[in-house]
Symmetry: C2
Subunit: 395 residues, 2 copies
Amino acid sequence: MSPVVQVPAQVSATPGALLHHVRTGRAKSRAELVALTGASRNTISNRVDQLIAANLLAEGGRGWSTGGRPPTLLQFNAEAGCVLAVDLGVTSVDVAVTDLSARVLATAGHPIDISAGPVAVLAEAERLAREVLTEAGLRDEDVRSVGVGVPGPVEFSTGRPSHPPIMPGWHDHPIPDAFGRWAAPVFVDNDVNVMALGEMGVGGSVQDVLVVKVGTGVGCGIIVEGRVYRGAQGSAGDIGHIHVPAADGRSVLCRCGNTNCLEALASGASLLRDALAAGLPVTTTRDVVELAAHGDGAALELVRDAGRTIGTVLASLVNFFNPHRIVVTGGVARAGLPLLSGIRESVYARAMPLAARTLDISVSDAPDLSGRVGAALMAIEGYLDEDSVREAITS
Amino acid sequence: MSPVVQVPAQVSATPGALLHHVRTGRAKSRAELVALTGASRNTISNRVDQLIAANLLAEGGRGWSTGGRPPTLLQFNAEAGCVLAVDLGVTSVDVAVTDLSARVLATAGHPIDISAGPVAVLAEAERLAREVLTEAGLRDEDVRSVGVGVPGPVEFSTGRPSHPPIMPGWHDHPIPDAFGRWAAPVFVDNDVNVMALGEMGVGGSVQDVLVVKVGTGVGCGIIVEGRVYRGAQGSAGDIGHIHVPAADGRSVLCRCGNTNCLEALASGASLLRDALAAGLPVTTTRDVVELAAHGDGAALELVRDAGRTIGTVLASLVNFFNPHRIVVTGGVARAGLPLLSGIRESVYARAMPLAARTLDISVSDAPDLSGRVGAALMAIEGYLDEDSVREAITS
DNA sequence: GCACTAATGCTCAGTGGTGAGCATAAGTCA
DNA sequence: TGACTTATGCTCACCACTGAGCATTAGTGC
């Protein structure tokens, strides 16, 4: 007898699922939805009608004929509302309004110090949110949900930070309350998880992906089969304090108290420290990255070296996790190729060929934006879940 | 507005799901199934009747009253058939027959050399399978499915090894065909994945677990939310060739051609090599493990040292993956505490406290058996899937 | 023994998805 | 233009699950 039969992967046909299939482009017409879900034409037709009545879907002309009547194309009505996306960083807060397909309609940012505490910082975030809404010509009632990324561990279900090491005073603070002005659900998560969503994009395929954020520190978002993986305590992806043997045998003290943590040797903070030590004319990490991007030899070598160090850790993780793809983002990722080539050098040298051969390592297209886009996607997914959609079509 | 509302985690109520809930002990009566699944009493009652008629469930007396009529207890009929479990090792093949709750009814093994090729080895496995069936007093028709664990990468859907490094001649060989005598589906997977299932047990909770096999080589089975994680090419968990800096700065050549791979420094093979170099009276890895288990100082220190080395790698993986639990199994795991304490020493010293604090690191209760039990569980899960159950109750 | 409660069985109307069948719309192909 | 094909709409018998209601069984507590 033959072994396992390939399961036809029966796809759900609930209203929310149908909407999702159209949004992600997996189906563009009623007929494709029938083929994809296996549900009857009747069911699909009725539900699509409901979704159109609820203004979530719209008919958009005719498609290409394949020998008979061409299908009526369906498209997601991304203008049926908007979401607020908040990217809380260590030194700045960035806010955007996007439509329901995460297209940025307006954005604004402001330098802050995260250690100023939640009240001051969140007040600034709320101010910026009102500002971008006005700029985009939207009203408070248009806001469907709010997504917030923060640089530390968060209890996702309550939206409260959980003993964040670099956010003094934020522990257990109810972040959602700051956005009470909008009668909308607020979703809060760690910034690397949020960025991981941003890098997956709207039609994020069902894949295993690592999103490495190289900013002031180093973190990693983990996507298992298209969904964020959080681990036992929600601290999965915390690779910044993995122990790394320094190439030259030196011992570097990390802010966590140990020596030779990954982010003590290769991060925005370490780049700045080493650049200053080398006498380069810089005052911020951004300066170092800019220098490297403009081809300054010393800065370039520093960035490439950081890449090599990160790559040694990623090589181990590639063997262990065997991802389809690794995306590098965060402030230092703006340096682009020098960082990437350093990472690739180490990974391809040290990871097993089977896992490394088809592995795609790339840098984010817009490292600055991925936090906001990810927060928007988180908010959109949260808004368009099964329950909300059901509610929308029955009311 | 409040953030995410806790989802009531609606549990499936299909026949296969009901069976699963009873098997795993999540529900013990019709009433509990109603409460667990949210389905109507009617539906549950009908389906349970069908499952009883199909001989998959049985009523087993009355439960404890909570003030009214006590529930009629349901139990899984584990004697409704048996499965064959085959554990293919590098130097031996072990076969067991188990009932449908993975209880071993009979088992047998035989030394082989995996490099003798698939035809000879699988013939021996088939012979042993017939032997254990006879010993357990079972007939060929009682066999519901077959599970096979092999020491190398496998394309799960076809049951064929995929360029296995230590199984010359096995590439693409259709292992299921060797068990054609039994009109039953054959499931084949990598031995660490199989062992991971074995360590999870029948009622495996929905958790994130790493199962580290320390045998001739070192491998790792990954359980994400209760299910085996395989990665992009199915090579996830291949931690044997992660690069490790040797504590004493020496450089050890691995069979893969690189230096200082984890399994070059800490594995059954390296233990034997180092024990021989130290002049210990041993000829196999098993001898070294026995010596350590009996308290020989030199062997003990070798094992503990291997544990420390493995622990350095696991410390990184704990930060990255944040598992609930790590289970150590395989031949070397029979050494028990010395290996475990070495691993714990490194992990607790180097992993982040948040992830390490509640982490449970333990050694398998029966390292020798976990391959067979895991193969049996894989076979049972494969047999009792939704489709098979549906077929069983309608025929 | 009696009131109460919980688990289960059975019936029946209501609801929603299925599949077949028929009709229609809007293309392609010869 | 006419035959064919595909996408979609609509109707209707059928079936499975639901939820309410009623009955029965087998415990607990007084």
